[in-house]
């Protein structure tokens, strides 16, 4: 079983450490002209897992009251993600990170410092909340990365509603420079009544679509994300048809199986569709995407529950720190290539597996 990386924390053995963000000692970062984080030396990290847990140049956060530290950005992860805010305009029935309205500008500051100090060229996810709720902070982040010549590629998970403001998208474009950015924008319905109901917000559908159109005007690439639930599984084909027929800049479609965490837990019985029942709909949408040449991926579907012809489209997990294999998977021959389940899928949220021989 792959241990979720960010579930693993490290204890510190340096008494003089203070709560805050640090960068693990690294020889190449010193020459950068950036606002540096304080450096933590290897000796201050008290773990027997040095090689697999944390590496030079990683950004960690130390909590003095618990004497533990956790990784913020690490080169050991296949998907680094930064939470920049907890605020959001939508109230999705299956929200995995329920919004919080308090002032959390510190998250933005920390994310910027982490990105600058980590200084990677790999893709780092920006998530929330809704990263563009605070437009000014979002632009400041992009501007600062550009100002300090940071080359990090970003994947921004956004509901896209604020992008319906063309001036905002123009401002974003000015701050991006030559940076590679992709937008992950969820669309849960092919009509406003369906989408707005699932995200619990009026105007959401119209604004999100306008946002995608505006991004298109600036050549920005979008990954459309769909979570199949009871309400929209019958319309999955309509949603995909709508997307591939209407937008040129949607280069990828990701179907994300429901993650039983946050509000999705509360509404689980109302929302959840077993994978066995999704197969027929997934089959339809994959054929459409193949016909239109749009790449499609299935996230978080255990391989054994998918029909044989769908398995090739399944991606191994969303984030390494979120995926999990129940004990039934121990004998499975394909565990290494299977996405498994979300870490939060325990007990009633777990479907029975059929291990491959």
């Amino acid at each position: 079983m792959v241990e979720p990386l960010r579930k693993r924390t490290f204890s510190a053995n340096n008494e003089s450490l203070l709560t805050g963000m640090y960068v693990v000692e690294s020889s190449n970062a010193k020459d950068l002209v950036i606002p540096h984080l304080p450096v933590i030396d290897k000796a201050s990290i008290n773990n027997g897992l040095w090689s697999s847990g944390v590496t030079s140049g990683d950004v960690v956060y130390y909590n003095q009251s618990t004497n533990r530290m956790r990784t913020i950005l690490t080169s050991n992860s296949n998907e680094n993600t930064l939470l920049v805010t907890e605020q959001c305009e939508n109230r999705c029935l299956f929200c995995s990170q329920p919004p919080n309205e308090r002032d959390d500008i510190e998250l933005y500051k920390n994310a910027t410092l982490a990105l600058l100090n980590f200084n990677a060229e790999s893709v780092i996810g920006i998530t929330g909340g809704e990263p563009t709720t605070n437009k000014k902070a979002f632009l400041t982040l992009l501007h600062q990365l550009d100002y300090f010549n940071n080359k990090t590629k970003l994947h921004i998970l956004s509901h896209g509603r604020n992008l319906s403001d063309i001036n905002f998208v123009e401002d974003i474009q000015k701050c991006i420079g030559s940076r590679e950015i992709s937008w992950g924008i969820p669309l849960y319905g092919h009509k406003s009544s369906l989408h707005n109901r699932l995200v619990n917000a009026q105007k959401a559908f119209d604004e999100t679509l306008q946002g995608i159109v505006n991004l298109s005007a600036f050549g920005q690439v979008v990954e459309a994300r769909i979570v199949p639930v009871t309400h929209n599984i019958h319309h999955l084909i309509n949603i995909i048809n709508f997307l591939v027929n209407s937008f040129q800049n949607i280069k990828q479609i990701s179907i994300m199986n429901l993650e039983p965490i946050g509000w999705a837990k509360k509404n689980y019985l109302e929302l959840f569709v077993p994978v066995g029942k999704q197969n027929v709909y997934l089959n339809e949408v994959i054929n459409i995407c193949l016909a239109y040449g749009v790449s499609i991926q299935l996230y978080n579907y255990p391989l054994c529950l998918l029909n044989d012809n769908l398995r090739a489209f399944s991606v191994r997990s969303i984030s390494d720190w979120k995926n999990y294999y129940p004990s039934g998977c121990n004998q499975c021959a394909r565990q290494q290539v299977c996405g498994g389940f979300f870490t939060s899928s325990t007990g009633k949220y777990l479907e029975d597996v059929e291990p491959f021989q």
Binding site: S16, T19, Q64, T66, T140
Partner: protein, 192 residues
């Protein structure tokens, strides 16, 4: 009530005692506080945020009622043998007189201390690179606060200065200094 006040006075004076960088005093102080008066300890600690506790070198200031080490749950290590004469006794409610001595000094009034006696911070700020880095960290934070529109260049110009003061004001922090420990703590910038 009287007893509580006495304890409070002890604790406040403790912070001054430690300023003398007397390790023995520190050692003698910690276990007693933890054993005898954990309630008071936690109360006082709560009044000092993590951020405020960051620049502990600034302990000469009266507002720093506590020290990092006493709040760092789990980080506490048993005291060395040097000051432990009193500690060898089984911990009881009564306080050994010997130990109370260094702590018994009446706290001197704040005004007799210059606000920035921090040796660590002073030497840090003398290091050009470190000083520049601290200013850059502040400028970056101020940009997100919407108080500063200039470049993050590490130069303490009039715009930066004004922005820092505006930030201090918004956080309810008194004083006109822009690079003292209190200000850096408000920004959450750790010692370097």
């Amino acid at each position: 009530m009287n007893k509580k006040l006495k304890k409070l006075a002890t604790l406040i004076s403790a912070s001054f005692a430690t300023n003398a960088s007397n390790a023995d005093v520190m050692h003698a102080l910690k276990p007693k506080l933890l054993e005898n008066d954990s309630l008071s300890v936690s109360l006082l600690n709560q009044s000092v945020s993590q951020i405020l506790a960051a620049h502990r070198s600034h302990s000469s200031h009266g507002s720093h009622g506590s020290h990092r080490s006493s709040s760092g749950g789990g980080g506490y290590v048993a005291p060395s043998t040097t000051p432990s004469q009193s500690q060898t006794k089984k911990s009881t409610v009564t306080r050994p007189k010997k130990q109370a001595d260094p702590l018994g000094q009446a706290p001197r009034p704040k005004s007799s201390y210059p606000p920035n006696q921090s040796k660590d911070l002073t030497s840090t700020l003398k290091d050009k690179e470190k000083r520049k880095n601290i200013i850059m960290r502040m400028q970056l934070a101020l940009q997100f606060e919407g108080l500063y529109g200039g470049a993050v260049d590490g130069i303490l110009g009039p715009k930066t200065r004004a922005a820092i003061l505006a930030y201090k004001k918004s956080k309810g922090i008194s004083g006109e200094k822009v690079l003292d420990a209190k200000t850096l703590n408000a920004f959450g910038i750790l010692g370097f």
